[in-house]
Each structure stands twice: as structure tokens, then as C-alpha cells.
Subunit: 210 residues, 2 copies
DNA sequence: TTTTGTGTTAAACGTATGTTTGAAACAGTT
DNA sequence: AACTGTTTCAAACATACGTTTAACACAAAA
């Protein structure tokens, strides 16, 4: 058999390098060197650098959203009439995070940093790709949060949702360096679970402010 | 006389283009074309593109931090013994933001996006430059927040402070695209001032959760 | 008027990038 | 062994970039 693992090696290298340096600053030569494959392999297997960026996202995001969806499906089957609280919704997401990051924690930080970059560096193709590919889960979460916060006006809810997103993405992406600071300044360790446990009440309180 | 305004024209163009497309994605040719000056003018007046980026930041960063500091100084002179609340602290920051962009609505959006980009794109020279420029005001704000949240244990306060930072940085850096979504989905406009007005209570509620 | 210094300009330089190419290597099938 | 489709490889290609250069413009000083 000896099936080629070139594609996987490229994705692994690209994922890490994109997260570290951004998209524009990471060249295909750097990626292929790190992956130890030929330069032309990216264009052969993915077609273009843009397509590679999208593939990096797809590999992480698809199983992640599936985990959230199946959790929500389960809950809706068991208690169909009882609407979810904000805390419950957030817990499904955090459980999905824990599920995906199980095995290698590094990938979670990498992906969150990528997600942040996608918003700031995504010149169009990436934003469009994410929007078209993951519209479903986004709308579902948004509608659940709407039911959980009936008194909020829609525009304010939209913004608060993104405030939550920002706090989460930023924290996850800079988790490693922040943990180092905590260890140095407070002589304590903050595990990933503890950080998430601190983050959730912060988010829940924020979205229900006033 | 006929004093050259080339430097100002370059800074204006660069500021706007950086905010719109990011640093790496904005070429000197685009900047000098928009500024209607010769390509070589940037290297002549600033030395390099990196130096131009720092100059763009310096032009608004210096008055910005001065505004915060003087606001805090004033308040401490008038009510020296009464500690500030979290809301008050955040309001000094947001007032400084508004003050820097006074008269020019567009400038606020540019400023916010640049501030956000500094967090996500500031890899080497920019981060170092900002750190040396920002350290004083950062420490001062941190110490004020400590006094405003005496019941919080230090580690949790550290994390919540960075949750706030994350929500802010993310929102600022992706403000433009989020505003477009709001306009499309809700047929309303969210001005930068309104967004900040929504962000502050979210942050204050979050840091005081439970 | 000549000189000097500052700023501008068009052109070129060197380098790095994403992409394409055509030959070679390989694996599986007949 | 011969054939076939897929994958790899070194090399080249075209383009865009930041930077440098040397000639030029022009105002102020000598």
C-alpha cells in the first residue's frame, strides 16, 4: 500500500505555521520545507495556496461542529420542550472543545488563533468559505441563544455574541503564553479546564448584563 | 515656504490602507499611489516600511495614552480617596478612544482596527514597540482594576482581565465585517460609539460575575 | 549669480513569492 | 515484463515586493 501521507504532512505544517506567523507571512516554501515535501506538492494536491488555507480550516472545523451538533441533538431528544440556558449552550461548545482537543491540546490553540486571523486577515475567500460551509451550526447556536435571552434586542444580542466569541478566541489562542505568565507571576498553574471553567461564567454574565 | 506635506499624506494613506487590508497586504506602491507621492518617498522620509508602520501607530498612540493618563490624573486629584469602579475605569479608556478620533468618524474605526491588528499581526518589531510604549499605562490600569475588584482572587482577576482584552481586541479588529453583517441582517447600522457603549457593560458584568 | 541642501522623481536592482512544467519515479494491473 | 495512472521532483517562469540609485527641481544662503 504505502499510501502517500504528503497531504497530511502539508496540512500539519501549514496549520502550525499559519497560526504562528499568519497567512500572508507564511510562504509555500516554508510550509513544504517543514513538511519535508516538494514545493509543487501543494499546488498538485490542493490547487492553490487559498485552497490550502481552506483545507486547513475544514480539517479541524468539520469534526468540531459535528460534535456540537450531536450534543445538541441528544439534548433536544431527551428534553424537547425545555429551552436551554446560556450556560448549557456554552457547555456544549466547551465539551466539543474538550473533545476535539483531547489527544493533542496544541491544535486547539492553533485553530483558535487561526480563527482570529480569519476574521482579520481573511480577505474574502476565507470568510466566504467559512460562511457558506458553517452557516448551519452558526444559525443554530444563534437561535438557541435567542431563546435563552428573550429580553435582549436582536442587534445587542448579535454584538454580545461576538464579544463572547472574541473573549474565547483570544484566550484560546494566547493560552500558552498567558499560562506562562500566571506561572511566573502567581506561582500557580492554570489548567485548560480551569480556564474554561473561569471563562464560562464570565461569558454568561456578560451576555446577560443589566 | 511651500513646506512639504508628503509625510502627512503618506501617514494618512497608510493609516487607512493598513486598517482596511492589514500590514503585509498593503504595499508601499499602494500607499504612495493613494497619497499621490513618489514611491521612494516612504524610504526617504521613514527609512523603511517597518518604520512607517511604527510611525502610523505612534501618531495616535501617544495622544491616546496621554488622554487616558490625564483623565486618571484629574480624577485622582479631585477624589483622591475614593477608588474607581470598573465602569469608571473603562469609561476613561473609551473616552480617550473617542477623544483621539474627535471630529472624524472614520478615524475611530481605523484606530480600532489598527489596535486589533496590533494584537493579531504584531509579531516582532510592532509588538516590541507597543510594549515599550504601552507598559506604563497598562500597569496603571491593571492596578486600578485590582482596587476595583478587591474580592476577586488574583489569578481569576488576571484571567478575567484578559477575557476583557480578548473581547475588545477581537471586536475591534473585525468591526468592519461585523458591521456589514448587522446592516445586512438587521437593516440597522451600528456606529462605533454604539458598539463601545454595548461592549462596556458586557465587560463590566463579566469581570464581576457571580 | 553661484552654491548648497532638501525634497522629488523615474528607473532599476535584488529578492521572494505563487505557480507551472516536463521528466522521472513509483505502484498497481494486465 | 510491459503498460497505465498517479505522485514526486528539480527547475524554470512570471510577477510583485521593498529598497536603492542617480539625475533633477527648487528654494534659501552666500
Amino acid at each position: 500500500m504505502s499510501q502517500s501521507d504528503t497531504v497530511k504532512r502539508i496540512l500539519d505544517a501549514a496549520e502550525e505555521l499559519f497560526a504562528e506567523h499568519g497567512f500572508a507571512e507564511t510562504s509555500l516554501r516554508t510550509i513544504t520545507t517543514k513538511a519535508d515535501v516538494n514545493l509543487a506538492a501543494v499546488n498538485y494536491h490542493f490547487g492553490s495556496k487559498k485552497a490550502l488555507i481552506q483545507a486547513v480550516f475544514g480539517r479541524f472545523l468539520t469534526p468540531f461542529t459535528k460534535l456540537i451538533e450531536s450534543g445538541l441533538d441528544n439534548r433536544e431528544l431527551q428534553k424537547p420542550d425545555q429551552p436551554l440556558t446560556v450556560e448549557e449552550i456554552l457547555q456544549f461548545v466547551s465539551r466539543a472543545i474538550a473533545g476535539v482537543s483531547e489527544g493533542d491540546r496544541k491544535r486547539l490553540a492553533i485553530f483558535m488563533r487561526l480563527a482570529g486571523l480569519a476574521y482579520t486577515q481573511g480577505q474574502g475567500h476565507l470568510r466566504k468559505y467559512l460562511q457558506s460551509e458553517y452557516r448551519g451550526i452558526f444559525r443554530r447556536l444563534m437561535s438557541l441563544i435567542t431563546k435563552a435571552t428573550p429580553d435582549l434586542n436582536p442587534v445587542e444580542r448579535f454584538w454580545r455574541f461576538h464579544f463572547m466569541l472574541g473573549a474565547t478566541a483570544f484566550t484560546m489562542s494566547s493560552m500558552e503564553s498567558l499560562q506562562a505568565i500566571v506561572e511566573h507571576d502567581f506561582e500557580t498553574q492554570s489548567t485548560e479546564e480551569e480556564i474554561v471553567a473561569m471563562l464560562l461564567p464570565f461569558l454568561a454574565a456578560g451576555i446577560r448584563a443589566q
